[in-house]
Amino acid sequence: MSDTLVLGAVAYDPKVVTIWDGFKAWFEQRGLPFDYVLFSNYERQVQAQFEAVIDVAWNSPLAWLQTERIAAATGHHAQAIAMRDSDQDLTSIVVVRADSNITAIEGLRGRRVAVGASDSPQATLIPLGHLAAAGLEPGTAFEVLVFDRLPGKHGDHIGGERDAVRALVRGDADAACLIDSNHLLFSQDGTLPAGAARVLARTAPYDHCNVTILGEATARMHRFRELLLGMRYADPDVRALLDLEGLKEWRPGRTSGYAPLAAAVDRFGTIESFVAGVAARCG
């Protein structure tokens, strides 16, 4: 068992089992003993990595920041070793109804803004941080309607964003926050009828999930990363898994795309107590 590389992932959807079972078989066929552990929430996973229950963590951007900060507080060093092509350069947007008289961010003052899960970087923290940076403090300058689906899963589940957009379409909210890709998805599946909404604001680009390790990479971690980056979409053995995981290729990890989220959590104090708690236990 000690030779086995153990990855942690959060079970935000049943397909997670299919994905990691498939990858496990693929890694093992290539000589890397591999296993995975599923967590019901990212906080438990972050803590487990500091307790050495898992070797690598498939982290949300918020979980990455939690890990990075706990590591800094406890003398560890966290690294993002890989990420999906689809994790890079995302944006979030704030939309209003097409017939709304709101034409600038300032127009949201005194209005209701619908967001996704309270811990969703893309549907809540980053867009609210964007509005705050523009001078509109959430909860003060405008009311926040939180659609808190599956907290702990950091917005991986799409339900909160869909609820936020539905609230906008119904007229229960004056604006809604969501990730750019879901704007296209909701436009195509009819959640957001064509021509029904207008993009009011768009955040700076940011990055999403990454594969996180603590400390220096071991030989097994190097091999794991090498295999990940070597996966080819043309390979029928992994194509279906890559489709499920939503990527065409794995890329080397980078940490340059987390500034918008870091600014937001600093402003809102989102993760301070969690970081301090784990740092105190594991430090």
Binding site: L184, L192, L247
Partner: protein, 392 residues
């Protein structure tokens, strides 16, 4: 290459035009996209990211560099749609072609459906498409093709005889429906025309079951007797796992024999409804025999040694049925009564001779079919004599 979407947005199908333009792009080239839809920047970027394409804004337009290995044109074709093209129907289609239309480009990684009848020599016939088309064109509607309301009244024992024969026909046709249906589920869909032909054969049998049932119940509340021996004979057919052998036993020997029986019934039918159901069913059975002969002849041309396996299948079935009664006596009696037309002694004697002649005709038909498959007259006579006494 350039494309201008005008005011068409991605939420209205604009991605279709971009996809098509990317397909036509030569290797290493980039696509310049223009458009005025307000969300185009947002949606083009998002869509390209999901597809693995790289996009950058460039002077009032966007430039899209397709993902490496973009396009599916490299996926192999599953033979060709037109069966007459060389290489259209392959010897052993891969299991992962699955349900794909023959000739489609099949994406790697498709699942294995586990079709066990996947060898061309065992199933294919160049005649299948022609026979299928013929079968579809020859479908008849039981509601209008049979004179159900023609007035007639038969003596009780003659009506009983008709009901008994119909009861026998129904269970035989049920076997003839179950057998191709079971093979359809195992047959690789690459052999599309064979699959379709078997399906229409099963549909033929469904119709036969309908009209025989309806005739049986025209004047009676319930059908007649089903015997253990008759069902034991049919079980040996239903349980035969090998498609060419089952086809040989069912279509060539069984339905070949049945065809003669149906013609006999038509000739001696005491009423217009019985005559019509027998005549129409016989038309269909002739087609089933033709397909059985066609694909077995092709099989034997490629593998003459298979003839010995066919012969041993007949012997094996004969041995398995050695201790059963064969055709039920009620059916024999019914056939004689129908051929007699009345219970007068002279008529009964005449009817008996006609049933004996029927058996002779059946034997001759089987021998002819066996000789068409390349058996010598002596082998044909021997094998025909071993055929089940239950006819099917």
């Amino acid at each position: 290459m350039r494309i201008d979407l005008g005011d068409l947005g991605f939420d209205e199908g604009g991605h279709l035009l971009v996809k098509r333009a990317l397909r036509g792009l030569s290797a290493g080239a980039e696509l310049e996209v223009r458009g005025t839809s307000p969300d185009l920047d947002l949606h083009l970027g998002t869509w390209c990211r999901a597809q693995g394409h790289r996009v950058r804004a460039a002077a009032g337009a966007w430039s899209v560099a397709p993902a490496a290995g973009h396009g599916r044109h490299e996926d192999a074709r599953a033979g060709h749609a037109d069966a007459s093209r060389p290489g259209a129907v392959v010897e052993r289609p891969p299991a992962t072609w699955g349900l794909a239309a023959r000739g489609a480009r099949v994406e790697p990684g498709s699942p294995d459906f586990g079709f066990t009848l996947a060898c061309r020599i065992e199933v294919w016939s160049d005649d299948a498409a022609r026979l299928y088309a013929q079968a579809v064109a020859a479908q008849w509607d039981p509601a209008t093709a049979i004179p159900w309301s023609a007035p007639f009244e038969l003596p009780d024992d003659v009506e009983d005889a008709v009901v008994q024969v119909m009861t026998y026909l129904i269970e035989n046709e049920t076997a003839a429906l179950v057998i191709p249906s079971r093979f359809i589920a195992r047959l690789h869909p690459h052999f599309r025309e064979v699959m379709q032909l078997l399906a229409v054969q099963a549909a033929d049998e469904a119709r036969h079951i309908e009209v025989f049932t309806r005739r049986a119940l025209l004047k009676r509340a319930e059908p007649g007797l089903s015997t253990a021996g008759g069902q034991a004979s049919l079980l040996t057919l239903v349980q035969e796992p090998d498609f060419p052998i089952a086809s040989f036993l069912l279509s060539v020997l069984g339905e070949g024999t049945f065809l003669i029986l149906l013609r006999f019934l038509e000739a001696h039918a005491p009423d217009p409804v019985t005559a019509a159901v027998a005549r129409l069913a016989a038309q269909d059975e002739a087609r089933h025999v033709a397909f059985g002969l066609a694909h077995l002849r092709r099989h034997l041309a490629e593998d003459p040694g298979f003839r010995a396996r066919l012969a041993s299948a007949v012997r094996r079935r004969h041995d398995a049925l050695r201790h059963t009664a064969g055709l039920n006596a009620e059916v024999f009696d019914a056939l004689q009564l129908l051929a007699s037309g009345s219970d007068a002694p002279a008529a009964l004697r005449q009817g008996h001779r006609q049933v004996q002649a029927l058996l002779g005709d059946m034997d001759t038909a089987r021998q002819n079919n066996l000789e068409r498959l390349g058996f010598t007259p002596e082998e044909a006579a021997d094998l025909s004599s071993l055929h089940t006494r239950n006819f099917m």
